[in-house]
Amino acid sequence: LLLGELTASARRLALVGLAKNTGKTVALAALLRELQDAGRLVGVTSVGRDGEERDVIDSRIEKPRVLLSAGNLVATTDGLLSASGIPHNVLENTGVRTPLGPVLIARLRGHGAIEVAGPSAAADVRAVSDAMLGHGAEQVLIDGAIDRRAASSPDVSDGLVMSTGAILSADLEEVVARTRDAVELVRLPGLEDPLLRKLAERTHLRTGGEGAGHAPTVLVSADDEALELPPRFVLSSDPQTIEATLAANPSARAVIVPGALPEAFMRGMLPVLRSRGGELAVVVADSTRVFLSGKGPRWYERQGLRLQVLQPIALRALTVNPVAPQSHSFDSAELRGLLENAIEDLPIFDVRQDDYAGRAEPAESPS
């Protein structure tokens, strides 16, 4: 199977990397090639900047180009559009401002390489993606930047391709472990408990939606009573306050977090949970709201904190870059093998390897 086939049903497809230089843009380029070969009309945008010649932080690193053919749509800044030299028709000025200029939507009338820099804010990404679909794109590809995930929220996109690579660590096992944790996070189980669902839906903050950021965090007791916690409780409470609040509500069975869930809050709940035993469901809108850098979701589940989401993310595939630029590299097949053992039911590709069916150029042979 090809990336393009696996992701075909996602009208708005997000590409997210676990760090810089994990190969997001290489995956995007492979997808674009496959979709354009299949004659599908695509729209492309980027939450960062794509197709630039050199890395913005380390100029020794050359970046892959983004090649688009006539008829396809792109959301990028006016400056980058003219710099591409590709003839085009501007369809819309989106009104979105970026540090690189205002974002336009254009239909290309020729073929070529173009730098893509669309809207950054998730709500704008959704609006611009929908606008491209409205202008006739059959599928919109939303490329990520560095390790930003907000565009993979189901409020924004319908499917996700994740990219990982050697850049995460010089230790192969560590790359596998961190990738597994990230996949577990993206695949957090959907919330089934009907009462919790009802409560969570009531406080669900749609990305950029009306009244966003004003919903309270709620503690749900065993007899289904909902206790509102003070504003910003989850963001900035110290461990003692978290402990005292939980200890004062010993029958709590769930906490519903409408906004961001930092790891400090998860850690703060551990001592009480360990002493009282049992489980506490931690409900978030989707996994882009969860900020874990120490332990993975499964570790917290073993401590009794069960993360659940209102809206699961449809993870379609994982791409692998076995090379850490200017540093080290792993054997691609070995890395993918270890990842396949650690992660269930997920197609894993290295789109630059010979064994990838959609690989761009044939391997060089010493003829």
Binding site: A19, K20, V47, G48, R49, E52, V56, I57, D58, T77, D78, G79, G95, V96, R97, T98, P99, L100, G101, P102, A117, S120, A121, A122, A123, D124, A127, A145, I146, D147, R148, R149, A150, S153, I167, L205, R206, T207, G208, G209, A212, G213, P231, R232, L235, S236, G259, A260, L261, P262, A264, F265, T288, R289, F291, S293
Partner: protein, 253 residues
Amino acid sequence: MPPREVDLAAVKPYADHLGDGLVQMSFTLPVPYSLAARKAALELAAKMGFDQPEVVHYERLTDGYTYFVMYGRCVQSIDFTALQGEGFDIEYMTEDEVERFAAEHVGRKIVVVGASTGSDTHSVGIDAMLNLKGYHGHHGLEGYHAFTTYNLGSQVPNSVLVAKAIEVGADAILVSQTVTQQNLHVHNLTELVEMVEAEGRRQDMILACGGPRVTNELAKELGYDAGFSKGTEPQHLATFIVRELAARVAAPR
């Protein structure tokens, strides 16, 4: 003699006369002070592409190290006329102009929260932008009528910064971070943007980042509305904030 016209399509360094391309540079080589060291420096400068490289001064720095001052002619040029458009043609306002503009287009106090996030212990950049004392003889934002500022200092966790910004109804968050090629620093900056998104506040807050290596290109990549680097003075930041806020007031999305 009438001044020679500068050819902006082919700009070169200038020392004695326009277009001579003369560059002065200094560097240290990890080799002992010797004639061989001098020769090595000349060859290196030639490899850098300099025409007629010349060592004007060299000295022993310490055992095994030699310091050089060199001249060389740069044969490359830059098309300055191509470097126009967004991000290049900004005309900054003075403090008084910012105050007048804010009074007219915003009409209320603009709340700015700043911090050095994560593990960064440097607060110099934030202090220069926000504190009354300011930088280069220019008041920080604290000294403006138009702004109410909160400087949270250094090593502030992103979640605490976001909580404070929400608590005080911040119009803008300013973070400073020394970005290196290490992923950690970059992650601190992207995490802040993601947390503001997760709180559903991205449309309500202007996000600006500053640091020695922060460009607009990097800011875009990181998800910020603007990036500020060395040489930024408080009124530059103030200009950006009041203009962006006025644009948002005029055309809410």
